[in-house]
Subunit: 214 residues, 2 copies
Amino acid sequence: MSKVRAAGFSISLDGFGAGPDQSLADPLGHRGTELHQWYFATRSFRAMIGEEGGDTDGVDAVHARRAMEGFGAHILGRNMFGPVRGPWKGDEWTGWWGDEPPFHAPTFILTHHRREPLVMAGGTVFHFVTEGIGAALEQAKAAAGDRDVKIGGGVSTLRQYLAAGLVDELHLAVAPVLLGRGEALFAGLDLPALGYRVLSSEAGEIARHVIIGR
Amino acid sequence: MSKVRAAGFSISLDGFGAGPDQSLADPLGHRGTELHQWYFATRSFRAMIGEEGGDTDGVDAVHARRAMEGFGAHILGRNMFGPVRGPWKGDEWTGWWGDEPPFHAPTFILTHHRREPLVMAGGTVFHFVTEGIGAALEQAKAAAGDRDVKIGGGVSTLRQYLAAGLVDELHLAVAPVLLGRGEALFAGLDLPALGYRVLSSEAGEIARHVIIGR
Protein backbone atom coordinates (compact mmCIF):
# COMPACT_ATOMS: atom_id res chain seq x y z
CA MET A 1 0.00 0.00 0.00
CA SER A 2 1.15 3.49 -0.75
CA LYS A 3 2.73 5.31 2.19
CA VAL A 4 3.39 8.91 3.13
CA ARG A 5 7.06 9.09 4.09
CA ALA A 6 9.68 11.62 5.02
CA ALA A 7 13.09 10.11 4.33
CA GLY A 8 16.72 11.06 4.57
CA PHE A 9 15.66 13.97 6.73
CA SER A 10 18.80 15.27 8.45
CA ILE A 11 18.77 16.78 11.92
CA SER A 12 21.50 17.84 14.30
CA LEU A 13 22.10 16.22 17.67
CA ASP A 14 20.30 19.17 19.26
CA GLY A 15 17.28 18.69 17.02
CA PHE A 16 17.60 21.28 14.27
CA GLY A 17 16.60 20.36 10.71
CA ALA A 18 18.20 23.40 9.15
CA GLY A 19 20.55 26.11 10.24
CA PRO A 20 19.42 29.72 10.83
CA ASP A 21 19.60 32.54 8.27
CA GLN A 22 18.61 30.76 5.05
CA SER A 23 19.48 32.83 1.98
CA LEU A 24 20.10 32.53 -1.75
CA ALA A 25 23.79 31.94 -1.03
CA ASP A 26 23.09 29.60 1.87
CA PRO A 27 19.91 27.61 1.08
CA LEU A 28 20.36 25.22 4.01
CA GLY A 29 21.05 28.03 6.47
CA HIS A 30 24.24 28.71 8.42
CA ARG A 31 26.19 25.44 8.87
CA GLY A 32 23.22 23.54 7.39
CA THR A 33 25.50 21.56 5.06
CA GLU A 34 27.11 19.90 8.09
CA LEU A 35 23.82 18.07 8.60
CA HIS A 36 24.17 16.38 5.22
CA GLN A 37 27.77 15.13 5.34
CA TRP A 38 26.51 11.53 5.58
CA TYR A 39 24.78 11.98 2.22
CA PHE A 40 27.46 13.69 0.15
CA ALA A 41 29.73 10.63 -0.13
CA THR A 42 26.96 8.30 -1.32
CA ARG A 43 26.26 7.12 -4.85
CA SER A 44 22.70 8.46 -4.53
CA PHE A 45 23.94 11.98 -3.99
CA ARG A 46 26.69 11.79 -6.60
CA ALA A 47 24.21 10.55 -9.20
CA MET A 48 21.76 13.28 -8.28
CA ILE A 49 24.31 15.97 -9.11
CA GLY A 50 25.40 14.15 -12.26
CA GLU A 51 28.72 12.87 -10.95
CA GLU A 52 30.28 9.42 -11.08
CA GLY A 53 31.20 7.20 -8.14
CA GLY A 54 30.10 7.40 -4.53
CA ASP A 55 29.58 4.69 -1.93
CA THR A 56 26.82 2.12 -2.49
CA ASP A 57 27.35 -0.46 0.27
CA GLY A 58 27.70 1.41 3.55
CA VAL A 59 24.85 1.96 5.97
CA ASP A 60 24.65 5.65 5.05
CA ALA A 61 24.55 4.75 1.34
CA VAL A 62 21.81 2.14 1.76
CA HIS A 63 19.67 4.62 3.69
CA ALA A 64 20.37 7.33 1.11
CA ARG A 65 19.15 5.07 -1.69
CA ARG A 66 16.06 4.08 0.23
CA ALA A 67 15.37 7.79 0.84
CA MET A 68 15.39 8.46 -2.92
CA GLU A 69 13.49 5.47 -4.31
CA GLY A 70 9.84 4.48 -4.60
CA PHE A 71 8.27 7.91 -4.63
CA GLY A 72 5.53 8.83 -7.09
CA ALA A 73 5.04 12.38 -5.83
CA HIS A 74 6.73 14.91 -3.56
CA ILE A 75 5.51 17.71 -1.30
CA LEU A 76 7.71 20.67 -0.46
CA GLY A 77 7.22 23.81 1.59
CA ARG A 78 7.74 27.01 -0.25
CA ASN A 79 11.00 27.88 1.51
CA MET A 80 12.38 24.54 0.37
CA PHE A 81 11.51 25.53 -3.19
CA GLY A 82 13.20 28.88 -3.02
CA PRO A 83 13.96 32.16 -1.28
CA VAL A 84 11.13 34.15 -2.92
CA ARG A 85 8.66 35.53 -0.34
CA GLY A 86 5.23 37.02 -1.03
CA PRO A 87 3.61 36.85 -4.50
CA TRP A 88 5.56 35.08 -7.25
CA LYS A 89 7.43 37.50 -9.48
CA GLY A 90 6.66 35.85 -12.82
CA ASP A 91 8.22 32.51 -13.68
CA GLU A 92 11.78 33.53 -13.09
CA TRP A 93 12.40 31.32 -10.04
CA THR A 94 12.18 27.62 -10.94
CA GLY A 95 13.71 26.07 -7.81
CA TRP A 96 17.22 25.53 -6.47
CA TRP A 97 17.97 22.60 -8.74
CA GLY A 98 18.44 23.91 -12.32
CA ASP A 99 16.62 22.61 -15.41
CA GLU A 100 16.39 18.99 -14.25
CA PRO A 101 15.38 18.79 -10.58
CA PRO A 102 16.04 15.52 -8.68
CA PHE A 103 12.36 14.69 -8.11
CA HIS A 104 11.42 13.09 -11.47
CA ALA A 105 7.74 13.10 -10.48
CA PRO A 106 4.91 15.55 -9.76
CA THR A 107 6.04 17.84 -6.92
CA PHE A 108 3.55 19.88 -4.95
CA ILE A 109 4.71 23.20 -3.50
CA LEU A 110 2.77 24.63 -0.53
CA THR A 111 2.22 28.35 -1.03
CA HIS A 112 -0.26 31.12 -0.30
CA HIS A 113 0.19 32.52 -3.81
CA ARG A 114 -1.27 31.02 -7.00
CA ARG A 115 1.01 30.08 -9.84
CA GLU A 116 0.65 27.96 -12.99
CA PRO A 117 2.34 24.52 -13.03
CA LEU A 118 5.93 24.45 -14.15
CA VAL A 119 7.11 21.57 -16.36
CA MET A 120 10.80 20.79 -15.91
CA ALA A 121 13.12 18.29 -17.60
CA GLY A 122 13.31 14.71 -16.35
CA GLY A 123 9.70 14.26 -15.28
CA THR A 124 9.42 16.87 -12.54
CA VAL A 125 6.31 19.06 -12.71
CA PHE A 126 5.95 21.68 -9.99
CA HIS A 127 2.35 22.23 -8.92
CA PHE A 128 1.60 25.17 -6.63
CA VAL A 129 -1.05 24.35 -4.02
CA THR A 130 -2.79 27.17 -2.14
CA GLU A 131 -5.47 25.11 -0.34
CA GLY A 132 -3.28 23.79 2.51
CA ILE A 133 -1.49 20.61 3.51
CA GLY A 134 -4.54 18.32 3.27
CA ALA A 135 -5.31 19.35 -0.31
CA ALA A 136 -1.65 18.99 -1.30
CA LEU A 137 -1.55 15.47 0.15
CA GLU A 138 -4.73 14.44 -1.69
CA GLN A 139 -3.31 15.68 -4.97
CA ALA A 140 0.04 14.04 -4.30
CA LYS A 141 -1.57 10.69 -3.43
CA ALA A 142 -3.63 10.79 -6.62
CA ALA A 143 -0.51 11.56 -8.65
CA ALA A 144 1.60 8.88 -6.91
CA GLY A 145 -0.79 5.97 -7.48
CA ASP A 146 0.79 2.84 -6.00
CA ARG A 147 4.01 4.59 -5.15
CA ASP A 148 4.81 6.52 -1.97
CA VAL A 149 4.42 10.23 -1.34
CA LYS A 150 7.51 11.96 0.02
CA ILE A 151 7.25 14.88 2.41
CA GLY A 152 10.49 16.52 1.35
CA GLY A 153 10.56 19.32 3.91
CA GLY A 154 11.52 21.80 5.14
CA VAL A 155 11.16 21.53 8.88
CA SER A 156 7.98 23.60 9.11
CA THR A 157 6.23 21.53 6.43
CA LEU A 158 7.26 18.23 8.02
CA ARG A 159 6.12 19.45 11.45
CA GLN A 160 2.70 20.36 10.05
CA TYR A 161 2.23 16.92 8.49
CA LEU A 162 3.45 15.16 11.65
CA ALA A 163 1.18 17.25 13.91
CA ALA A 164 -1.76 16.32 11.68
CA GLY A 165 -0.83 12.64 11.99
CA LEU A 166 -0.51 12.35 8.19
CA VAL A 167 2.99 10.83 8.01
CA ASP A 168 3.25 7.01 8.01
CA GLU A 169 7.03 6.77 8.30
CA LEU A 170 9.82 9.18 9.13
CA HIS A 171 13.48 8.36 8.47
CA LEU A 172 15.75 10.73 10.34
CA ALA A 173 19.49 10.94 9.75
CA VAL A 174 20.88 12.29 13.01
CA ALA A 175 24.19 14.04 12.32
CA PRO A 176 26.84 14.20 15.07
CA VAL A 177 26.91 17.98 15.15
CA LEU A 178 25.48 20.72 17.35
CA LEU A 179 23.87 23.69 15.57
CA GLY A 180 22.63 25.63 18.59
CA ARG A 181 20.12 27.62 16.52
CA GLY A 182 17.87 26.93 13.57
CA GLU A 183 14.58 25.20 12.90
CA ALA A 184 13.78 22.77 15.74
CA LEU A 185 12.01 19.64 14.55
CA PHE A 186 10.67 18.34 17.86
CA ALA A 187 9.84 21.54 19.79
CA GLY A 188 6.29 21.29 21.08
CA LEU A 189 5.63 18.20 18.97
CA ASP A 190 4.66 15.23 21.17
CA LEU A 191 5.26 12.37 18.74
CA PRO A 192 4.35 9.53 21.16
CA ALA A 193 1.02 11.27 21.88
CA LEU A 194 0.44 11.24 18.11
CA GLY A 195 1.06 7.49 18.08
CA TYR A 196 4.64 7.50 16.80
CA ARG A 197 7.51 5.43 18.17
CA VAL A 198 11.04 4.45 17.18
CA LEU A 199 10.91 1.33 14.99
CA SER A 200 14.66 0.99 14.43
CA SER A 201 17.93 2.82 14.97
CA GLU A 202 21.09 1.98 13.03
CA ALA A 203 24.55 3.51 13.16
CA GLY A 204 25.85 4.68 9.80
CA GLU A 205 29.40 5.72 8.99
CA ILE A 206 28.51 9.33 9.81
CA ALA A 207 24.82 9.65 10.74
CA ARG A 208 22.54 7.55 12.89
CA HIS A 209 19.48 6.40 10.94
CA VAL A 210 16.28 6.29 12.94
CA ILE A 211 13.00 5.01 11.52
CA ILE A 212 9.90 6.36 13.26
CA GLY A 213 6.43 5.04 12.55
CA ARG A 214 3.20 3.82 14.07
CA MET B 1 44.14 18.61 35.37
CA SER B 2 40.84 18.28 37.18
CA LYS B 3 37.79 18.64 34.94
CA VAL B 4 34.13 19.44 35.40
CA ARG B 5 32.20 16.70 33.62
CA ALA B 6 28.67 15.50 33.12
CA ALA B 7 28.79 11.84 32.13
CA GLY B 8 26.42 9.03 31.30
CA PHE B 9 23.72 11.66 30.92
CA SER B 10 20.83 10.00 29.08
CA ILE B 11 18.57 11.87 26.70
CA SER B 12 15.85 10.76 24.31
CA LEU B 13 16.07 11.19 20.55
CA ASP B 14 13.81 14.21 20.88
CA GLY B 15 16.08 15.78 23.48
CA PHE B 16 14.46 15.07 26.84
CA GLY B 17 16.68 14.24 29.82
CA ALA B 18 13.80 13.04 31.99
CA GLY B 19 10.18 12.19 31.50
CA PRO B 20 7.34 14.40 32.77
CA ASP B 21 5.52 13.96 36.10
CA GLN B 22 8.39 13.01 38.44
CA SER B 23 7.09 11.57 41.71
CA LEU B 24 8.14 9.42 44.64
CA ALA B 25 6.94 6.34 42.75
CA ASP B 26 8.46 7.50 39.47
CA PRO B 27 11.68 9.39 40.24
CA LEU B 28 12.79 9.56 36.59
CA GLY B 29 9.37 10.73 35.39
CA HIS B 30 6.93 8.94 33.12
CA ARG B 31 8.87 6.53 30.83
CA GLY B 32 12.13 7.99 32.16
CA THR B 33 13.58 4.51 32.74
CA GLU B 34 13.52 3.90 28.98
CA LEU B 35 16.30 6.47 28.70
CA HIS B 36 18.57 4.30 30.84
CA GLN B 37 18.17 0.88 29.21
CA TRP B 38 21.73 1.10 27.85
CA TYR B 39 23.00 1.33 31.45
CA PHE B 40 21.00 -1.39 33.21
CA ALA B 41 22.82 -4.31 31.55
CA THR B 42 26.30 -3.04 32.40
CA ARG B 43 28.61 -4.22 35.18
CA SER B 44 28.81 -0.61 36.44
CA PHE B 45 25.07 -0.49 37.07
CA ARG B 46 24.85 -4.03 38.48
CA ALA B 47 27.67 -3.28 40.94
CA MET B 48 26.03 -0.02 41.96
CA ILE B 49 22.88 -1.83 43.05
CA GLY B 50 24.91 -4.61 44.73
CA GLU B 51 24.29 -7.28 42.11
CA GLU B 52 26.71 -9.63 40.38
CA GLY B 53 27.43 -9.84 36.66
CA GLY B 54 26.70 -7.37 33.92
CA ASP B 55 28.52 -6.57 30.71
CA THR B 56 32.04 -5.11 30.90
CA ASP B 57 33.28 -5.14 27.31
CA GLY B 58 30.59 -3.58 25.12
CA VAL B 59 30.60 0.06 24.07
CA ASP B 60 27.74 0.86 26.43
CA ALA B 61 29.60 -0.82 29.31
CA VAL B 62 32.86 1.01 28.63
CA HIS B 63 31.05 4.35 28.59
CA ALA B 64 29.13 3.42 31.74
CA ARG B 65 32.38 2.69 33.59
CA ARG B 66 33.96 5.93 32.38
CA ALA B 67 30.84 7.78 33.58
CA MET B 68 31.30 6.41 37.10
CA GLU B 69 35.07 6.67 37.62
CA GLY B 70 37.50 9.42 38.48
CA PHE B 71 35.18 11.73 40.37
CA GLY B 72 36.18 13.33 43.66
CA ALA B 73 32.94 15.28 44.15
CA HIS B 74 29.42 15.45 42.74
CA ILE B 75 26.86 18.20 42.27
CA LEU B 76 23.13 17.45 42.13
CA GLY B 77 20.05 19.59 41.77
CA ARG B 78 17.55 19.28 44.53
CA ASN B 79 15.00 17.39 42.45
CA MET B 80 17.66 14.82 41.69
CA PHE B 81 18.14 14.37 45.43
CA GLY B 82 14.48 13.90 46.20
CA PRO B 83 10.83 14.86 45.80
CA VAL B 84 10.70 17.19 48.84
CA ARG B 85 9.81 20.79 47.85
CA GLY B 86 10.07 23.90 50.03
CA PRO B 87 11.87 23.82 53.43
CA TRP B 88 13.38 20.51 54.53
CA LYS B 89 11.15 18.65 56.95
CA GLY B 90 13.82 17.48 59.38
CA ASP B 91 16.33 14.85 58.32
CA GLU B 92 13.81 12.27 57.23
CA TRP B 93 14.64 12.38 53.50
CA THR B 94 18.21 11.19 52.82
CA GLY B 95 18.08 10.71 49.04
CA TRP B 96 16.73 8.06 46.66
CA TRP B 97 19.60 5.68 47.25
CA GLY B 98 19.26 4.16 50.72
CA ASP B 99 22.00 4.12 53.40
CA GLU B 100 24.91 3.79 50.99
CA PRO B 101 24.47 6.12 47.99
CA PRO B 102 26.52 5.41 44.85
CA PHE B 103 28.58 8.62 45.03
CA HIS B 104 31.29 7.62 47.55
CA ALA B 105 32.50 11.23 47.73
CA PRO B 106 31.33 14.66 48.88
CA THR B 107 28.11 15.47 47.05
CA PHE B 108 26.78 19.01 46.88
CA ILE B 109 23.02 19.52 46.64
CA LEU B 110 21.75 22.82 45.20
CA THR B 111 18.85 24.11 47.31
CA HIS B 112 17.28 27.34 48.52
CA HIS B 113 16.85 25.89 52.01
CA ARG B 114 19.61 25.44 54.58
CA ARG B 115 20.32 22.03 56.02
CA GLU B 116 23.20 20.45 57.96
CA PRO B 117 25.50 18.03 56.12
CA LEU B 118 24.41 14.43 56.06
CA VAL B 119 27.04 11.70 56.47
CA MET B 120 26.09 8.46 54.72
CA ALA B 121 27.78 5.05 54.51
CA GLY B 122 30.48 4.40 51.90
CA GLY B 123 32.03 7.86 51.81
CA THR B 124 29.12 9.96 50.59
CA VAL B 125 28.54 13.20 52.50
CA PHE B 126 25.65 15.35 51.31
CA HIS B 127 26.34 19.08 51.62
CA PHE B 128 23.46 21.47 51.05
CA VAL B 129 24.52 24.62 49.19
CA THR B 130 22.26 27.68 49.21
CA GLU B 131 24.63 30.19 47.54
CA GLY B 132 24.10 29.10 43.93
CA ILE B 133 25.86 27.06 41.22
CA GLY B 134 29.15 28.99 41.36
CA ALA B 135 29.57 28.45 45.10
CA ALA B 136 28.67 24.78 44.79
CA LEU B 137 31.29 24.32 42.07
CA GLU B 138 33.98 26.04 44.12
CA GLN B 139 33.26 23.80 47.08
CA ALA B 140 33.12 20.70 44.89
CA LYS B 141 36.45 21.54 43.23
CA ALA B 142 38.10 22.06 46.61
CA ALA B 143 36.72 18.71 47.80
CA ALA B 144 37.67 16.84 44.61
CA GLY B 145 41.34 17.88 44.60
CA ASP B 146 43.02 16.26 41.57
CA ARG B 147 39.95 14.29 40.64
CA ASP B 148 37.05 15.45 38.45
CA VAL B 149 33.81 17.07 39.54
CA LYS B 150 30.66 15.42 38.20
CA ILE B 151 27.57 17.44 37.40
CA GLY B 152 25.11 14.64 38.08
CA GLY B 153 21.96 16.44 36.98
CA GLY B 154 19.06 16.77 36.66
CA VAL B 155 18.39 18.53 33.42
CA SER B 156 17.82 21.96 34.96
CA THR B 157 21.08 21.80 36.93
CA LEU B 158 23.08 20.66 33.89
CA ARG B 159 21.53 23.40 31.74
CA GLN B 160 22.52 26.03 34.30
CA TYR B 161 26.14 24.87 34.37
CA LEU B 162 26.29 24.61 30.56
CA ALA B 163 24.77 28.08 30.09
CA ALA B 164 27.39 29.47 32.47
CA GLY B 165 30.15 27.77 30.45
CA LEU B 166 31.33 25.86 33.52
CA VAL B 167 31.27 22.31 32.08
CA ASP B 168 34.47 21.04 30.44
CA GLU B 169 33.07 17.81 29.02
CA LEU B 170 29.59 16.40 28.51
CA HIS B 171 29.00 12.72 27.72
CA LEU B 172 25.47 12.17 26.44
CA ALA B 173 23.94 8.73 25.99
CA VAL B 174 21.28 9.24 23.31
CA ALA B 175 18.61 6.57 23.70
CA PRO B 176 16.62 5.43 20.64
CA VAL B 177 13.28 6.45 22.13
CA LEU B 178 10.87 9.35 21.73
CA LEU B 179 9.45 10.84 24.94
CA GLY B 180 7.41 13.69 23.47
CA ARG B 181 7.30 15.58 26.78
CA GLY B 182 9.64 16.13 29.69
CA GLU B 183 12.66 18.24 30.48
CA ALA B 184 14.30 19.43 27.26
CA LEU B 185 18.09 19.60 27.50
CA PHE B 186 18.84 21.78 24.45
CA ALA B 187 15.85 24.17 24.32
CA GLY B 188 17.16 27.72 24.10
CA LEU B 189 20.70 26.57 24.85
CA ASP B 190 23.06 27.50 22.00
CA LEU B 191 25.99 25.20 22.77
CA PRO B 192 28.14 26.20 19.75
CA ALA B 193 27.79 29.86 20.77
CA LEU B 194 29.11 28.80 24.20
CA GLY B 195 32.13 27.22 22.50
CA TYR B 196 31.01 23.59 22.63
CA ARG B 197 31.24 21.09 19.78
CA VAL B 198 30.95 17.35 19.25
CA LEU B 199 34.33 15.71 19.90
CA SER B 200 33.24 12.12 19.18
CA SER B 201 30.17 10.00 18.56
CA GLU B 202 30.15 6.24 19.02
CA ALA B 203 27.38 3.69 18.55
CA GLY B 204 26.76 1.50 21.59
CA GLU B 205 24.63 -1.62 21.70
CA ILE B 206 21.62 0.49 22.73
CA ALA B 207 22.60 4.16 23.09
CA ARG B 208 24.77 6.44 21.02
CA HIS B 209 27.56 7.99 23.08
CA VAL B 210 28.40 11.57 22.20
CA ILE B 211 31.26 13.47 23.83
CA ILE B 212 30.85 17.25 23.74
CA GLY B 213 33.59 19.60 24.80
CA ARG B 214 35.57 22.69 23.88
